[in-house]
Symmetry: D2
Subunit: 296 residues, 4 copies
């Protein structure tokens, strides 16, 4: 399993493809828009001019794309992955898409003799660059074992969550909890500041107890400085909340806080915060609270 077709060389995909080169794989990279192959070429990879060129002869095809429509566009049709990948190959979709879309992809690929794993990741751009992503895998256990060396070039934690789509389910649950935790902190920040508490001291106290969380620790300076330099963009989290609410609806899981958090994230989008960090949910709480933070 030496040759990999890698489709989607964006913020996440590009460093992932580079790490695969470094691990000794022959990587043929393709991206819809031009000008994304530089890092891959520098790492010894090759640029493919078409999906067909990227996947032909590949043992493994990896997709890292924004959402299900993009995955479906590269997977299906006469120029797509399924029509041009050799039977017996393994298609690993590392995009974050709806569980149901992953299930359908696996079913459609099976008709071509292609096995599929859904393998969305957590860890952000930094995790992609450093090769320490957390990878949530849905699909056959044997296929995961076959793919393990590939995954180990990309991430640190590799977890099989169950059958097709369940990697996506765990990713969705992650985004659900994360959105709510951020909003919880945002509500606490305004509550504390409006009361006149020293915010940094207070957040440190909260971090030390049962209310402590990775959001509190890692987003602390974002909250303190209203610094919304994107680590994970609101627009992506908003997309994920669509997956969360659709999936919850489909399976009959009732998520009252998730439902409101999705509305508040939609509000951030409507107010123009798509391109900044998701910690900017704090914006919305300030707005609702008529709160204009005093300048120091």
């Amino acid at each position: 399993m030496k040759r990999i077709g890698f489709l989607g060389l964006g913020t996440m995909g590009s460093p992932m493809a580079v790490n695969l080169c470094k691990a000794g794989y022959t990587v043929y990279g393709w991206n819809r828009s031009d000008g994304k192959t530089g890092p891959l070429l520098a790492a010894g990879g090759r640029a493919a001019a078409s999906i067909r060129a990227a996947v032909r002869g590949a043992d493994v095809v990896i997709t890292m794309l924004p959402d299900a429509p993009q995955v479906e566009e590269v997977a299906y049709g006469p120029e797509g992955i399924l029509a041009n990948t050799r039977p017996g190959a393994l298609l690993i979709d590392m995009s974050t898409i709806a569980p149901q879309s992953s299930v359908e992809l696996a079913r459609n690929a099976a008709a071509h003799g292609i096995r599929v794993l859904d393998a969305p990741v957590a860890g952000g751009e930094a995790g992609a660059v450093e090769g320490i992503l957390s990878i949530m895998v849905g699909g056959e256990a044997d296929d995961l074992e076959e793919a393990r060396p590939v995954f180990e070039a990309l991430g640190k934690t590799i977890t099989r969550c169950g059958t097709h789509g369940l990697g996506q389910t765990v990713k969705a649950a992650n985004q659900l909890v994360l959105a709510i935790n951020i909003q919880a902190c945002a509500e606490a920040v305004v509550f504390l500041e409006k009361s006149g508490v020293d915010l940094e001291a207070a957040l440190d106290v909260l971090s030390g107890g049962l209310a402590g969380s990775n959001v509190l620790t890692r987003k602390k300076t974002n909250f303190l400085n209203r610094d919304y330099t994107p680590s994970f963009r609101m627009g992506l989290h908003h997309k994920d909340m669509g997956i969360v609410t659709d999936t919850a609806r489909a399976i009959g899981a009732v998520i009252p806080l998730g439902g409101i958090a999705a509305q508040l994230m939609a509000s951030a989008m409507a107010r123009g915060d798509a391109e900044i960090d998701h910690s900017a949910l704090l914006h919305g709480v300030e707005l609702l609270s008529g709160y204009d933070r005093p300048q120091e």
Copy 2:
């Protein structure tokens, strides 16, 4: 500062009073209901037959009571703390009550020449027994310095949050974030289980990423086993959510998730879950989702 009157020898107060004895203080303990002084006496403390007897001659008076009405009942009136403590003494209220009640207590005590600190704690019964509570202090900085040796006999982290009431404000923010984090996890648990994911594996994945939290780690077995042996009782958290929503309303901090979390905790109370652990918010999500977990 050697003599301490300690009012309220319940689950939290009793081990706290014991730790003060161990640290060398002369502790006069009092409790409204009988039969609570055993551990204190065993540690070398003394039982006071009345509030008056507990506080007379004390350098420091500590209250550890369920809520503001109980604090006000022991503080005010001819038999109460303010009327019977020597001017110049320090009253430390370690109960969790509304910030506004703490402000009023400080103002009323000042008229008697008594200084007040609000000093609610986090860390639960285990933290009280081991003397490793997190203590959030509101009041004058000098008074905190004077009380520091007392606090150090009780806790590990001692943080001045600001003026009178702001210790309570930070405690309230803590309970706000905590309730929401628990509910977030509860929603994720049903979302994951209904999808057919292995719950333990999934929670471990979430714990490792930005969605990770102390709730996920410390309440994991509660969620996995539906074990609601109380570490912190729903009824107490419900009381605290009343403080949170009242205070938010008073200061104009808008807390959409907090508002819903408070309703869901009120639902737990209405359904009879007052005496079990607050992680039983999961009960409510199961109920809403018509989810009856398959027996193994």
Copy 3:
């Protein structure tokens, strides 16, 4: 039953006192702040210089005040209603206060031999002026019969809701449903306008079906013109939502939409909309949706 002491000559109380004069009662009016007795005097009523002067010799005492603290201030204490009204008289509190406060008032008054009805009203200033208020009465049925002629001078619909406090309970339920209905319309307005629908035509369609409501009909021009001339001020409805959420909490009634509606009304307050009409909940939805309505 000819002599009435009337306490609270505000926007509602003043025209109510006038209507009682017109119905033939001898009305002694009192108001905390000066300059409110003009309409009453013009209608043949008398100005009382103190609570004591207003209630002395009265068969019926009526209070029409902003909230429970004001009612309690005029009711209790040596200068208050209970100490200065003759035993056997009837105290009718027409203020909107918490049911529990009404229950306590009735209990305290009973110790003075004074009977109490809680009788909050709906219908607004127009209803007060025209004497067509809807009156929700809690207390003894016999007392209501005795008071009926008085009520008939003030309102059109007089309903006994049950024992002490239950008039307030029905009023609270009214304010709960009303706040939610307004917010529902506000959400629909932004939904429709952002889609490009002609708003007036759409609201007319909604009014004609099961979604129709008095809010849709009577507030239609407020929504269409963003005209928030106060008919019922946000600040008063916000006060009422505090009663709603406190009472729901006390009785174990879970109100998810009510909880959110209360937060959104608190947001309106925090953003400075206290003095405009409660239909300005639409402001908040526009803000959340980043919606700046195109000028015609």
Copy 4:
């Protein structure tokens, strides 16, 4: 315009097709499942054995189907409406589907020279039988004028809401407001009953004021008797709430109460209430409030 192909002879479609016969139209009815053509035949209509047979030669084709997938299934493909209807004919889709699906249908039909109106209805089965539906029309004004005689055989109120899809938008807004109003009443019912108020008297009081609504009036006996005989089934309203939340998300309209109402309706579905009346949202509030209504 004398010949009509009518696709979908369900609870709503069957009486609508009958009314068209009565108005003098030649109606060819088709339904996916058998055994639905009885009333149409009795009214002088004809049964079509296929979509093709129903639409061939028709001046107007009407679809009345559960949701967008069913509409798309009968519209597209070689056996579908677009391929078999004569250019110049008018396709009126009276189903309740997503506005975006209506826009796409209109665009696809235009390529076949077929004009489209979206014309969802309100008024329920009774309105369909009596021919007094409220019809919300999106599409060209000229096309509406051409179709007006057809609409007048079916409904009482015919409103042009704007271009393609905007009839659906108004229907969605209707379902949004309606779901929230029902839930508001449900919360009030439990609030009132748990307080001990006579429910019927209280609902009558609310109906008379600004909180009054068609839900309060028409669903009163459902609430009083917990009679959930379906007038409009929860399952259909749940489907509509999916359209509401998807559309709101797509256009950036933030609907906090709508988001929660959708969750609570999803809860009703998950708990098995799909086939009963949507007023059974009251079930959910009872459950959350741990409320078991005392038997009379």
